[in-house]
Amino acid sequence: MGHHHHEPKEKPSLKVNRRHFFSQLSIGIGSLALGSLLIPDLFKGPSNEAKALGLGVRHFAPKAKRIIYLFQAGAPSQLETFDHKPTLRKRMGEDLPESIRNGQRLTGMTANQDKFPLMPPKIGFQQHGQSGTWISDFFPYTAKIADEITVIRSMHTEAINHDPAITFFQTGSQISGRPCMGSWLSYGLGSENKNLPSFVVLTSRGKGNSQGLYAKLWSSGFLDSKHQGVLLRSGKDPVLYLNDPEGLSRSDKRHLLDHVSSLNKLHHVETGDDEIESRIAQYEMAYRMQMSVPDVMDISKEPEHIIKLYGEDCQVPGTYAANALQARRLAENGVRFIQLYHQGWDQHGNLHEEMSGQAKDVDQASAALVLDLKQRGMLEDTLVIWGGEFGRGNYCQGKFNPDNYGRDHHPRAFSIWMAGGGIKPGLNYGQTDEFGYNVVENPVHINDFHATLLHTMGLDHEQLIYKYQGRRFRLTDVAGHVVKDILA
C-alpha cells in the first residue's frame, strides 16, 4: 500500500499543526457566535463520529456477530439460478422490446449487436420447500435449504463491468480506494479474537470463464491498515511470510520483536504517525497467528460426516468446499468477516456447460455451510450471503443458438441469497418483470444491501463514519436504506 496520510487523532504527543490550530480557534469566543449563526451544525460536528468511534461499540443490540460472504465472482446469471421467467421460453428468439431495455447501457461485447434475441435458460426450475422458492436444477443442494434462506431477486447496481462492480460491492464505490465492508466492520467493531485477523479472505477458482481478483478488494483504504483483509492461501503456507525461517526459535523471535517494537515506539514518539502503532500491533498479531492459523486451518480433526456434508472436495485445499469448511472454523474462532471468492462465473458463451460446473463447485458446500452453522447454533448470529456482482442479460450474446449461448453483463436486476444472522428464513423478496430484466417490486440497491448488513451487525450505517482528507466517509456514502422487510 502507498503512503497514508491520516487525520491526526487527539494525542498528547502530537505537535499542533495548522489544521489543529484553526479547529481550536473556531471555538474562540468571536467565531462562536458568528459561526453558530452561519453554520447551524457547527457545534454538532463531531457528535456522530464520537458515537461511531468507540472501538467495539455497537449502536444497538445486534442480530449477527459475524458475516460469511460467499462471493460468486464473475456474476452468475439470475436466469439460471433463482429468477424463473417462463416468458423467455414463450418468446424465445424474439427481440428484447425497447420498452423493456429502455436505453440500458451495454458493454462493448454486445453494444454493437443489432438484435437482442430473448434466450430462455436451458436448465429447468422447480419450487422448493414450504416457501415455494424457485431454484434452478443446477442447485439441488441449495434447494434442500430453501426454507433457511431469503432469496432477493431485486438487487441492482450501476456498474456494468466486473472490476467496478465488485469494487462497488466491496467498498460502496465503483472507484477504488475506499475501505472494504470487512474493514469497515473491523473498524467499527474491533476484533473478537486477537490471535486472528478480524477480516479474512479465501479464494478459489472454477473452470468457468473468470476475471481477476485484486488485493484492493480486501484493502482497508484510508482506514488504519490493521483493518485490512488477510488472504489465507491453501497449502502449507496459509499466510505468506508468516512462518519463521529455519533455525529461528520462538524465543529468538520474541526477542527480535521486542527490540523492533521498542525502536518503532521511539519513532512513533517522534512523528506521531499512527501507522507505526499499527505496524507494532501487526507484528504481534503475526507472532500469535503463527500458532493460531495452523490450528484453525487444520481440518484433520473434522469427523467424516462433516467432511461428507461439505463434499469430499473439502479435503482438497484450495477448493471452494475446503474454503467453506474453513469459513465455519474461522467463524467459530471469532473472525468477524469471512470473504470467500469463487471465480469463474462470467459466462459470455457456453453458459450451460460452464454454469453446471460452477454450480457443482459451490452448491453442496454452500448449503452444507448453512446446515452446519445451523446445527451449531451459529446461524443465530452468523449472516451468510451468496451472490455475484451483477446479473446477466436475458438476450443471447452473439449469434442466436439455444444449445450454446452466453449472456452479457446486466446491472438492473439480479438475485442473491442470505441466511441466518437476523434475516427471515424462507422469504422471497423483490420481483423482476416477466423478462427478468427490470426490478418491478422492492428494489435493493447495493447501498441498501450495505446498510442492511451493517444493521444486522448492530451498526447504524449513518453513524459509522470516518473522516479523511477533510470529508466524512461512510460505507453507504450518502445513500442506503435498511431493508427492514427481510429482517426477522
Binding site: 443442494y141 460426516h305 461428507k308 469430499e312 451449531r376
Partner: protein, 476 residues
C-alpha cells in the same frame, strides 16, 4: 419618589374594560366576532406574559404596606384585563370547549376582575389591610392555576408530567390491533393537539368513532384506502410542509409507526381484530411483533457499572470482553484456546460476573471450575459449552442459573440426567444438543413435552443423508 402618575383616564379605561369583560362573559353565546376582533385574540399568547410578571411583582411589593409606582400598578391591572379579553376572543375561535379551557377561561376572568376591584379599592384609599392582603393571596393563587390550565391547553395535559410518567403500555400477548397498537401511537403523537380540550382542525383523535368522523379537512381515515386518507397523506408530506403532521417542532412518527397506521387502515380500520387474526404474510403482523420484542438494552439497565479500563485490564490475547451494544454494562465473553490453557483465565473474571450475559467456552478443555464460575454469573442468558469434555455431574452446577435462554451442549459427554436440568429452566428457548450421551428416546420425549423450545438435534436425517450418503462429487 413622588407618585406623579395619577390619571383619571387610566381609571376609566380599567373600569370600562372590566364592564366589557363581564358583558362578554354574560352574553358569550350571542356574540359573533368580526374577523379583525378575532385576530386580536391571536395576541393572547403574547400579552399573557405581562400580567403574570407584573401582577406577581406588585403583589410581592404589597401596595398595602409600601408605596409603589402607580404607573406599574395601572399597567399590571390593564394588562390583566387585556389578556382576559383577548383570551376570550381566542377561546371563541375554538369550536368546542373542553374542561381545561373552561377552567382556564373562568379562572382568568376572575383574576382580571378581582385585579380591577383590588385596583379600585386601592385607588379609593380605603384600605382594610386584611381585605387587600387576602385579595392579593387569592390573585397569586389564581395566576398559578390560570397559567397552569392555559399551559395544559397549549402543550397537552401531561406536559408537566415527569418523563417516566410517559405512557409506554405493555402490549399483551395477543393484542387488539386498534386498542393496543394503533391508539397508543395516536396517543403518543397526535392526541396532544386533537383532544376535547384543544381539537385542532376540528379533529378529535381520542377514539375510533372520532377518527372516522374526521375534522375540518374532511375525512381523516378512509377504511381500506390508506392512500386516500388525509392522515396518511399528511404523515408522508416533507417535514417542512405546512400541512405535515405532526407540525414542525414536534417529533415526526417513525417509519414503522406510519406503516402500522397504513396497514391498519388498509385492512379496513378494524376495532376488534387481533394479532392472531392476521395472515402471516400480512406485513402488519411482523410490524406488531417487532413492537412486542422488548428492547434488550432496557433489561440490562440495572446491571452494575463496569468501566472500559476494567474491560481492557481483564481481557487478554485469548479472552475478549465485549459490550453487547453501545454503553450497556452487559458483556459477552469469548474464550479462545491458548497454547497452555488454565481455568484461572476465566476465574479472574469473578469481579464482573454479574455483567456477563453471554459466555462462549466452546472447544475448551473445561471442567468443574469453569462451570462453577458460569453458575456464579446470575445474568447469564447465552452459554456455549459445546465440544467440551463436560458431563452430567458438572453441568448440574448450572442449576441455579435463572435466565438461560440459549445453551449449546453438542459434542459433550452429558447424559439423560441433564435433561432433568433443562426441564427446570423455564427461560430456555434454544438448545443445541446433538452428539451427546443422551438416549434418543429421552430426547424425543423432552422435545414433545416442550414445543416452545427450539431443540436442535443436528441436521435433519433426511437432508443429512442426501448430503452425506450420495456421492457428492460426481465424476465428469
Amino acid at each position: 419618589m413622588a407618585n406623579t402618575f395619577k390619571s383619571k383616564w387610566a381609571d376609566y379605561v380599567i373600569f370600562g374594560l372590566s364592564i366589557f369583560l363581564i358583558f362578554c362573559l354574560l352574553f358569550e353565546s350571542y356574540i359573533e366576532l368580526p374577523p379583525l376582533v378575532a385576530w386580536i385574540g391571536r395576541w393572547h399568547p403574547l400579552i399573557l406574559h405581562f400580567p403574570i410578571v407584573l401582577l406577581i411583582i406588585v403583589i410581592f411589593l404589597d401596595p398595602s404596606r409600601s408605596r409603589i409606582s402607580q404607573l406599574l400598578l395601572t399597567i399590571a391591572v390593564l394588562s390583566a384585563l387585556l389578556t382576559a379579553i383577548s383570551g376570550f376572543f381566542l377561546g371563541k375561535e375554538t369550536g368546542s370547549q373542553g374542561d381545561l379551557l373552561f377552567w382556564h377561561k373562568w379562572l382568568g376572568a376572575t383574576l382580571a376582575i378581582l385585579a380591577a376591584i383590588w385596583y379600585g379599592l386601592l385607588a379609593m384609599g380605603r384600605r382594610p389591610k386584611f381585605l387587600i392582603r387576602g385579595m392579593q393571596i387569592l390573585m397569586g393563587g389564581l395566576i398559578v392555576f390560570t397559567g397552569h390550565y392555559g399551559g395544559m391547553v397549549t402543550h397537552g395535559e401531561d406536559f408537566l408530567a415527569l418523563p417516566s410518567a410517559r405512557k409506554s403500555q405493555e402490549i399483551p400477548e395477543n393484542p387488539l390491533i386498534y386498542t393496543h397498537i394503533v391508539q397508543p401511537i395516536l396517543e403518543n403523537n397526535c392526541v396532544q393537539c386533537h383532544n376535547p380540550n384543544k381539537q385542532k382542525g376540528g379533529l378529535l383523535m381520542t377514539d375510533l368513532s372520532a377518527l372516522l368522523k374526521g375534522g375540518e379537512s374532511g375525512n381523516t381515515i378512509i377504511p381500506g384506502q390508506p392512500e386516500q386518507s388525509e392522515m396518511i397523506r399528511r404523515l408522508h408530506l416533507p417535514s417542512g410542509d405546512e400541512e405535515h403532521m405532526p407540525p414542525e417542532g414536534e417529533r415526526p412518527l417513525e417509519a414503522d409507526e406510519i406503516r402500522i397506521l397504513e396497514r391498519w387502515i388498509a385492512l379496513g380500520a378494524p376495532d376488534t381484530m387481533r394479532l392472531e387474526h392476521l395472515e402471516p404474510s400480512e406485513p402488519l403482523s411482523q410490524l406488531i411483533r417487532d413492537l412486542m420484542i422488548p428492547d434488550p438494552l432496557k433489561k440490562w439497565e440495572t446491571l452494575p457499572a463496569v468501566a472500559d479500563s476494567t474491560l481492557i485490564n481483564l481481557s487478554s490475547d485469548y479472552l475478549s470482553l465485549i459490550r453487547m451494544a453501545g454503553t450497556t454494562n452487559a458483556l459477552k465473553v469469548n474464550a479462545y484456546k491458548p497454547p497452555e490453557y488454565h481455568a484461572q483465565m476465566l476465574l479472574d473474571l469473578m469481579p464482573i460476573r454479574e455483567n456477563i450475559v453471554e459466555l462462549d467456552l466452546s472447544g475448551l478443555p473445561i471442567g468443574q471450575d469453569e462451570l462453577s464460575f458460569a453458575a456464579n454469573c446470575p445474568n447469564l442468558e447465552w452459554l456455549e459449552i459445546d465440544q467440551t469434555p463436560i458431563s452430567d455431574e458438572e453441568i448440574d452446577t448450572l442449576r441455579i442459573l435463572q435466565k438461560i435462554r440459549l445453551l449449546k451442549v453438542f459434542e459433550t459427554g452429558i447424559g439423560d440426567k441433564s435433561v432433568g436440568l433443562f426441564r427446570e429452566w423455564k427461560t430456555l428457548k434454544n438448545l443445541y444438543i446433538w452428539d451427546t450421551e443422551i438416549s434418543p428416546s429421552v430426547l424425543e420425549e423432552f422435545k414433545t413435552e416442550n414445543p416452545g423450545i427450539l431443540i436442535n438435534t443436528g441436521i435433519d436425517s433426511e437432508i443429512r443423508s442426501y448430503f452425506v450418503d450420495s456421492d457428492s462429487i460426481p465424476t465428469e
